[in-house]
């Protein structure tokens, strides 16, 4: 692909909005895909696109039109990706805990190369839960709220909260067991 012309960069420096839009059209998808491939979250990738381009606009006056815009963009992008790795780190730990508890695979769990497939499956299974159960489950396991908090928020007893969580975990376990028996989650799925 042809790099963006220095003419457009010069216009951007002057604060030209349509030059800015051209640059966005030209590079936003690349930035989105790169961020997505490392952060595995569309939401985070979208946030990065927004954050990086706002930075580009705010620093437009210092933009160097003679050096590679690609490298410049990459540097800003990399910094944002770093930041989001940190931000998503807790969420990823929590998801790991859920998977570890419900997968039934213990000894080599953390070395299995199909981790992403399990994450995707987890998302899918959570979506399949009845609405109330899903709500309770997410509040407890992802938002790390206490039984008491959840019972107050949803106006249900703590016993009911516990019941939903037990059922949700049982559901996940049985689904992951089924997949294992069928051999559906395995590294070889990705080959070819």
């Amino acid at each position: 692909m042809i790099p963006i012309e220095s003419k457009i960069l010069k216009e951007l420096k002057k604060g030209d909005h349509s030059a800015f839009e051209k640059i966005f059209e030209r590079y936003s998808k690349q930035l989105f895909q790169f961020s997505l491939s490392y952060l595995k979250s569309e939401e985070a990738a979208e946030d990065i696109v927004q954050e990086v381009f706002i930075k580009i606009w705010n620093n437009r006056k210092e933009l160097k039109t003679d050096t590679s815009f690609q490298s410049y963009l990459f540097t800003i992008a990399l910094n944002s990706v770093r930041k989001y790795f940190n931000q998503l780190s807790r969420l990823n730990e929590l998801k790991h805990d859920i998977l570890f508890d419900s997968s039934g695979l213990k000894s080599d769990f953390d070395d299995r190369s199909d981790y992403q497939a399990m994450l995707d499956k987890l998302e899918e299974l959570i979506k399949q839960m009845p609405e109330k159960r899903r709500e309770v489950f997410i509040k407890k396991k992802i938002e790390e709220k206490s039984l008491k908090e959840i019972s107050e928020e949803l106006n249900i007893t703590t016993k009911t909260v516990e019941y939903h969580i037990t059922e949700a975990m049982r559901f996940l376990k049985s689904e992951f067991d089924k997949l294992q028996i069928q051999g559906l989650i395995f590294f070889h799925l990705f080959i070819g």
Binding site: S37, Y38, V49, Y115, F187
Partner: protein, 341 residues
Amino acid sequence: MENKINYKTLLDFSKGRYSYNEYLDIKNWFTNVRNDVEVEEQLFNQWQEFSDSTNTKSLHSIFEKIQYNILLEEKKNEKGKSIWQYYRQVAAILIPLIAISASLYFFTKPSQTTAQAWSEINVPEGARIEFLLPDSTSGWLNSGAKLKYNAEFTRHRKVELTGEAFFKVKHRENSDFTVGVNDMDIKVLGTQFNVSAYANETVTEVVLKEGKVEIEGKTATFNQVLHPGEKISYNHEKNSLNKLAVDANISSAWTNGYLVIDDEPLAQAAKKLERWYGVEIAIQDEVLKNFRFKATFQEETLDEVLRYIAITTPISYKIETRDHNSSGVLKKKQVVLKLKQ
């Protein structure tokens, strides 16, 4: 933790083939401040491979968010030096004037002047006129348009247009009909089509509803045949020609009293409103010009239209009091659009 990532690990991870431990390695690399240049170079290579990402969903909504945020930021920084307070005071005094001047819109009447054999129809700003030519060709002229024609139509029927018009050309054996605008000639047989060629616009548009027309550039050398449902846009500043499929009914909806804004940027929509209502619209914030919106109005007053825009977009409006020019004539009504605070 020992850093053991290599290009393969990066590649596998980015493609979704990784274990939790590999995720931890990658995360550690990214979150570690002192990381090695080698991995960064490998990442840069990967980054460049993404430069042809085209199969992604449109990110335009993010662009709109960005513009919105930029704008809010700029507004915040500008606070204090606003001239709006001044205007507010002036408005309080001059509001009664607006009421009087509203009736002056239609002050100018369409004039018909005859210069030799040429006749001319002039449409005042804010009005739309239905016309009938001597050969039974009929149509509509939109606000501010001007149509010149020769009263004695012969073998070659020729009219000249500035502004927007919708033509229903009467088919006649052995007689062609040409609409000339500043940058092109549109040759037709019996057909229905819409032309928009305002003098202050860089783009001329022709939309064909029925039949067939042939378009020939005056300054640039292009020759295009248009089929029903096609639109041709010619930018005579950039000398660029664009042809695409459209709903021809939308472009001629104005002849039925509809003002249609079809997912257009505000800058373009404002021009339509200016002509439709014979007002001048100033867009205070540059970024607003790219806000797109969609609406159809019928017989709404300017005020109702502006109110609708203000409800559905982050835009607020203000109708300024009307000034007199040096010769004492009231200037057009001024509308100012700006970002909602």
